[in-house]
Symmetry: C3
Subunit: 399 residues, 3 copies
């Protein structure tokens, strides 16, 4: 779709230091550009290898109008196939998850193997070339057991991130976690209002009582900065404290943006839980609770908060221009036993209530942004990360 | 938004004497123009002072994507603030009504006083100017205790109306009424089909059995005109009979349109109620029932029907291009006591059933107007007022 | 509405042998063209004379935003009136079916006789011409007792079809059937995906177990072609076997497309029913079951399957760009008695379950066609009829 002059002007006119104009949340042409330049280009968290341990296991990863089959091949490799039959376009796989020997379209029975190759197409002319009619593939990359996919022809590189954070993945045992819960929270707003909400802790103190009792990030910069400085100097933790700030507009040219950072929890707090109490066995090679947590993010819509004993993942996906979902994933070490080593309700409590609060906040934000009287407002210094997101976003639209 | 040639042509091509073309009800560009030139310009009934007797009392007035906080300041003045935080746009006030010391945004705790001034914004840079970030204000004007607002920078003047109708407001005791009931009736049609329906009594005889038993306006002009002439000559009423017909395209340049007119009820009918029986104490300085009622309207979507013992207000507001609401307000004198001086169900009966009838009629009208085979039809002489509305509407779009 | 360049290019670029691009299912300009060039031009099945045996009997035929009153005049003629009042456009007839002396608009009581003539309009000026304000008429043509209408000014001709198929209508007793059941199946997809589904039996074997047990058409061409050849040579049936293939792009210039064709059922199968058992008395002049069935279609969205003992009609109608309905009609000979000569549940079973299957298939097809990764796929030889439909469709859009 050609982008008309008014859209180019809108993008060019973004004023640094301020929130985005209403059009960015409402204009269908903008949304089409976002789909093309962001969601069909950048790396998205699809799920975790523990969801598909055996060949033929699969689950669907879906957003907007797209459906992708994430499966494990006979050779044990993770594959991502577009769930669109090459004949007349039907969804090929109708179940949300399961195990399959092959993916056979329910309409005319064209059949694809686990690698996406078309292996059977009844009654086609002799000149029909099956080899040119396999399912479209998405790129797949594993970060520990995390499955990331990109729908781009040439996705941004993840190599720099993988090399940079080898020690982090090792310390937290990224290869030795399992996904124990995934919740989907529908939000009646454009996806950016949800991502922006996640970007800043300016709202944490007023909005998230439970979070703010545990996390130093809810403090004002005046209090947080010296507190963090001391923490990083004095921490006894055996996990990396050196940050990597290549997020959003700070990413290297050609690379996917990413971030790693260690932050203090409040005094006495060991984990992200009621009262800051431990909720699961220590992750990876971590040898004791040290009142801190690590942030890790990759790409535009995937964020992780890694406590010493569990990891929480957040993923924001558009379902339409006006609606999105926040998916939350909870991980513990793979040998932890439910009911013995961790209690699921206890584990998920904090972020379940926090995301429910956010859902309300975001929708009330959207209601005002919908008004003809909304105009971009000035960011506070606690919205610095959101500013980086917006800078990057504006550039992404220009491409 | 620029208006393209086809829209200008559409407006220019309106044919006097006929109903509007389908595009006026369906084209989003037309709807945008209506919002800008009509609903964000003209005076709208927001409510009544009896809803917010004390400083800090507030209620929300909402239409389309707009939300306005109507409140009473510490000094007792009525104020109207746009419910859009100047930071990132969140709705500031989430409750539909209540009492507040200040309006504090639930997102990042920016706080506004009852006058809309920004009084607190945490952790902002030192160069941030609070005085430039108060809530946007709407103009407020009181007509007796009725609260009207305009979202225009320079609203049309209400002064002529206020001076002209001083005697009317005094006779009916506009300052000494209270709002005792407000009902909202959603209608699945463009707002104009609802306003047009209210404009004409051509449909009263076929459609409103109960109304037609009480109101002479449901008669044919042949019968109504001499009946009214006699009534105005012989009436014993102590309220004004001299009409003021400055409605719609008859408004003076720069003034908001308005109307006052006295009409007869049918013989023996004292009020708008079952059997035409009195339902409340006489309003204001009215000293006896005189088988008449007064019409009073201000601006494009607010109409009043004043019986000797109660007043009914009607307000039509778009909620989207395809949907609207009819709000109906019932007023009695402020010292009337429910259960003793009036019974609420008895009071509201007539217009509750009449609006429910209208809702059905309007939706059936809309279904036909949606057809590709609809074309504007000829108005009857009983649709004279609707013609004035349409004339004014077409002119309003031209601006 | 002017059609912009991109739409013309889209139409011009259709690639023979492949399914349609996504835009044909999603673009509102395309949909407007379809309405104008297809649904407001071609012949559509409205219903059957047995639904309105007496003068004044009526039923509504509705699709998209259109509503048409099908009624029988005092003289006994079938009439089709647009259900749009010539005054302000209200639906005139609100009941789905019934009997009326005249059609009186519920809004302002304009009244139309059974021929659609305006016979009363209260209080209109003396220069108002009632004779110019009758209800708009659609063309009506009967095919046996089947009522077809066209909303065109100059509809395509049905004469060739009527003459060609005189013997068929006589053999099956088209004049001596009655409609005993009509079911409406809503489908969440553009109407073309439903029509395309009906066009081909490539999906029958994988998707319709029950259908495939009875109908030879579900066989591969390799098996079907010799099977049919033998059947046509050896059949003992007294109904016509000579086909008429003037469907879609094969129609003669100026004529509505139509088709007649005789096909074998599988060995031992007598009718379209559980086990292929007879379900009603033989139609018309048919003297014995002969393990065959006839296809008959007229225009773009109406298809019939005529078993020896009953006829099933299929009609696909858009309700919006994204939704449609499949209507299924069951006919038996008019003197058959329910409970004695046929059992309704037994009669409708096969096509009820088959259409329910199709509804799921079509929606899954739509989900994939919605994807940005859908691209037109190659037709098999079993989709030959669909290719004719698509050829015709592309030409229809060009007009």
């Amino acid at each position: 779709m050609a982008t008309d002059k008014s859209i180019s002007d809108l993008i060019a006119d973004y004023q640094h230091g301020y929130s985005l104009k209403q059009d960015f949340y409402k204009n269908p042409q903008i949304y089409d550009k976002e789909m093309k330049n962001i969601f069909l280009h950048h790396w998205l968290l699809a799920g975790h290898v523990s969801q598909i341990p055996n060949p033929g296991d699969f689950f669907l990863f879906e957003f907007d109008k797209e459906s992708i089959i994430i499966t494990r091949s006979k050779q044990g490799k993770i594959k991502a196939h577009l769930n669109v039959c090459r004949h007349r376009g039907s969804h090929v796989c109708l179940k949300k998850s399961g195990n399959a020997k092959a993916f056979t379209c329910p309409y005319h029975a064209w059949s694809y193997d686990l690698d996406g190759k078309l292996i059977a197409a009844r009654i086609m002319d002799s000149d029909f070339d099956k080899s040119e009619n396999g399912l479209h593939q998405a790129h797949v990359e594993l970060v520990g057991g995390l499955i990331f996919i990109s729908l781009a022809q040439n996705p941004p590189s993840l190599r720099g991130m993988q090399e940079d954070l080898t020690d982090v993945f090792d310390q937290f045992g990224f290869d030795k976690m399992k996904l124990v819960k995934q919740n989907t929270y529908p939000v009646q707003s454009n996806w950016k209002l949800a991502v922006e909400n996640y970007q800043e802790c300016y709202h944490c103190a007023p909005s998230h009582i439970d979070y703010a009792k545990i996390h130093a990030l809810a403090l004002t910069p005046q209090k947080f900065n010296p507190f963090k400085e001391t923490y990083l100097k004095e921490t006894t933790s055996n996990v990396r404290t050196k940050p990597s700030s290549y997020y959003f507009d700070l990413a290297k040219e050609g690379d996917e943006g990413y971030q790693y950072e260690r932050n203090p929890l409040l005094k006495g707090m060991k984990s992200g839980s009621l009262g800051g109490k431990p909720v699961a066995p220590l992750l990876g090679k971590i040898n004791h609770f040290s009142e801190g947590a690590s942030e890790f993010s990759v790409g535009p819509v995937t964020f992780f908060l890694i406590y010493d004993d569990h990891m929480v993942g957040y993923r924001f996906l558009p379902t339409s221009i006006d609606t999105c979902v926040a998916d939350v994933f909870w991980f513990v070490r793979e040998d932890a036993v439910e009911g013995k080593d961790y209690d699921l309700e206890t584990l998920i409590w904090l972020w379940h209530v926090t995301i429910l609060d956010d859902e309300k906040i975001i929708v009330d934000n959207r209601k005002g942004v919908d008004s003809r009287f909304y105009s971009p407002g000035k960011f506070s210094k606690m919205e610095d990360m959101e500013q980086h997101f917006v800078n990057w976003y504006i550039n992404a639209l220009k491409k």
